[in-house]
């Protein structure tokens, strides 16, 4: 632990980095902190002071940012951090045994650094690879399907890296993954790359907006806003193209969600093409991809893809040979904060601030990134729009239902024989999806299914015939959310699962508003006691409901508004869990 801290900090190592940042604005804060941390493994006081001077950001603000993001370290930490997922999908598939094996092998408890200062160990929330549960990260190397016996390989960095598991039909949006080299621009062109964008560039932006409106694509990030309308509003907002932004939300941190990672790692050029289309439609010259800090491989591939597209004239000025079509993309890496998936918190993060959500209105379409007009979309939403451009709206509307058009990605995980990412037309029932996934293990039966992620809701076995559509979800009282379908058989300890959910929210609450800051904590304390510290007491149910309703009704942003959603749904279905 002390190995690094007693050393004097050699600031000359930082000089070559700092010179590239002098004169830049505060929005360079996160990238600079990432670079500085890559040198020292953590962010010593002297480094934070140097960062503050370089970007002219107040000391208290630099420190506040460092302390906000879980992957920035204010205390001596090794350059290599071993992280093992402790979230629900991994817990259901044996994460505890893996964690114990790692702890024994390293001789460390969560949060500790080895005596030689070479490795730090942590247990972390969902890593977005639930189809491979249980999962870990060794430095920047991903690992899936871990077992206790695989731990030495994992720690030695030779355990195989997991690839996305893709199933379903028709694979309108995921078809290229695994069939092409994700790094090769030529290969992308050979696999129908830029067919969609070239096709719609025959039309005016207004005509494309109409196409998108008739495609009925709703936002896949959870809020279900129609993409056509969002692009129309941003296009219509006052401002020049140089003052408008297209943002791809690749923060994907909702527990149980691992869909966008497949595109980011397996088909990164399609996101670039989709964003270019958005830029053409909206009239925006600035593009941003915000990818979560726990996706190092996705980040690397995106950076590579952006660079290649620039070299080939598919990003930059007068793109694709079209005079006046200027668009460029900057890839930004998060640093461990679920809240930064919330669109306004994401803007704050890009601007170099703590990820505190803003109050809406005003909305991003007029006051988004840097208070300028911004169209922010989830990765899947953008790829869906590009798919419509490529195959045509009539073909798209052949799939799904009237209200829920086209296909959706479902993240099937938990106690299921064939977990994976399933692209299916809207309308498939939960039972059918589970059957496609091979069902639960032989001899087991379904106890519960978590739909929509930690911010979603549980359903019982009697609701399995509900269709996975927006209208079906509304009728049955669960959100489609990010498409999470997590299966729990009778071996799952529901009290422990509820505690894990509450722990996630208490850990991720940004702290800005009172009901969520305190409510998530109280909720967790009660569920912790119920789960493994004395059991339920009279009054627990009432207290949980009271806290839950207050958070739902009065919290500032979607995190607090949904922090009790899955828990309250479980209490309604199985009141005996809490009393």
């Amino acid at each position: 632990m002390e190995a690094t801290s007693t050393h004097a900090i050699d600031l000359t190592l930082l000089e070559s980095v700092l010179v590239r940042y002098y004169g830049r604005s505060r929005s360079a804060l996160l990238p600079l902190l990432h670079e500085a941390q890559a040198i020292y493994g953590w962010l010593p006081r002297e480094v934070q002071e140097a960062v503050s001077r370089t970007l002219r950001v107040p000391l208290a603000d630099v420190h506040g940012v460092v302390e906000f993001y879980a992957m920035f370290y204010n205390e001596p930490t090794a350059r290599r951090v071993v992280r093992v997922c402790e979230d629900i999908a991994c817990t259901l598939r044996g994460a505890d045994a893996v964690a114990q094996a790692i702890e024994a092998e390293l001789g460390l408890q969560p949060g500790e650094t080895s005596a030689d200062g070479r490795v730090t160990y942590e247990r972390v929330p969902c890593l977005g690879m639930c189809e491979h549960a249980p999962n870990g990260l060794n430095g920047t190397r991903l690992a899936g399907d871990l077992t206790a016996t695989a731990v030495p390989d994992f720690l030695a960095g030779v355990h195989p890296e997991p690839e996305p598991k893709i199933y379903g039909t028709p694979l309108l949006k995921l078809g290229r993954i695994g069939k092409m080299d994700p790094l090769s621009f030529k290969d992308y062109l050979a696999h129908d790359g830029y067919v969609g964008l070239r096709r719609v560039m025959q039309y005016t932006p207004e005509q494309i907006i109409q196409i998108m409106e008739s495609s009925a694509i709703l936002g896949r990030g959870g809020a279900m806003f129609p993409i056509g309308l969002k692009w129309k509003f941003t296009r219509g907002a006052p401002g020049t193209p140089a003052e408008k932004h297209i943002v791809a939300n690749a923060d994907e941190s909702e527990p149980g969600t691992f869909k966008d990672r497949a595109i980011l790692e397996g088909d990164p050029y399609s996101l670039i093409e989709a964003m270019s289309m958005a830029a053409y439609v909206v009239g925006a010259e600035n593009g941003w991809i915000f990818v979560r800090g726990e996706y190092p491989r996705a980040y690397e591939r995106l950076c590579h893809a952006v660079q290649r597209a620039q070299e080939e004239g598919y990003l930059g000025r007068n793109m694709l040979g079209r005079q006046g079509f200027h668009f460029n993309i900057e890839v930004r890496l998060g640093a461990g904060a679920y809240i930064c998936g919330e669109e306004t918190a994401l803007f704050e993060a890009i601007e170099g601030k703590r990820g505190f959500p803003r109050i809406k209105p005003p909305f991003p379409t007029t006051n988004g990134l840097f208070q300028q007009p911004t169209a922010i979309n989830n990765v899947e939403t953008l790829v869906a729009a590009l798919t419509v451009a490529r195959i045509g709206v009539d073909e798209w509307l052949r799939f799904g239902t009237d209200e829920s058009a086209g296909t959706k990605w479902f993240c099937l995980s938990g106690h299921i024989q064939r977990p994976g990412l399933y692209e299916l037309p809207f309308g498939v029932s939960i039972r059918e999806l589970i059957q496609m996934g091979g069902g639960v293990r032989p001899g087991k039966h379904i106890q519960a299914v978590l739909i929509g992620g930690a911010a979603g809701a549980f359903i019982g076995p009697e609701q399995l015939d509900a269709p996975l559509t927006y209208e079906g979800a509304r009728q049955h009282g669960f959100p489609i959310g990010s498409g999470v379908v997590m299966v729990l058989d009778e071996t799952a300890d529901m009290r422990r699962i509820l505690y894990k959910l509450s722990h996630f929210f208490a850990h991720e609450s940004c702290g800005k508003c009172f009901p969520c800051q305190i409510g998530t904590q109280r909720q967790m304390e009660i569920l912790q006691r119920i789960s493994h510290d004395g059991g339920p007491r009279p009054g627990d149910r009432a207290a949980l409901m009271d806290i839950g309703f207050t958070m739902t009704q009065t919290s500032l942003c979607g995190l607090g508004q949904t922090a009790a959603s899955a828990i309250m749904s479980a209490i309604q279905l199985w009141p005996e869990l809490v009393g």
Partner: protein, 239 residues
Amino acid sequence: MKRQTQARIITLKIDGVDVAAREHETILELAQENNIFIPTLCHLDGLSEYGGCRICVVEVKGSNRLFPACMTPATEGMEVITNSERLRLYRFSILDMLFSERNHVCSVCVSNGHCDLQYLSAKLGMTRVEVPYLNPKVDVDASHEHFIMDHNRCILCQRCVRVCGEIEGAFTKGVMGRGVNTRIIHDLNGAWGDSDTCTSCGKCVNVCPTGALVEKGKSAGEMVKRRDWLPYLRLMQED
């Protein structure tokens, strides 16, 4: 919200009463002009809005959601309800949570009798705490020559952070951590007394709604806060 001098006039209803407002005015500003009481904690005239305490939530007819009055612009035809049984319950519940976190034993506090939190609780008729107490022990920083920061009484309204940056321009105060581990800090979380950026202006102490920031040498109940200068200073800055 910034006021505009030649804004359009709109009409709406607050608690059934017809009122006229300038466009861009917030529901809170409008209520105050019409002598309608809406409780607030993080709002303070003269500072930017924060929107964190949620005590000021109101109902708007036609929506199931609740809206923070301090940051919701009044719009034409809106029907606002500022006190209903539902609102009373939620405001109670938020205060309840505040008391369950940190330590607010008023009888020993120097701000006893001059505390916005205490005032609000009494005004809303709060007599008991429903959420189980936890009161984690946090620090007291008495390193500053004139002032004390008692984190146990801090509700994280960030008035101090805002006044320090927006009005004094010192940017000494900030906030670190997240969730219940959020803390007010000075510079890089050093002792307040060691801060090179603090001008010892005392503005943060005067805007603090609780006994978290106080002057040294006051005994229980003596700390009266002055903040009549704030809107005035803000006006001077805008000119």
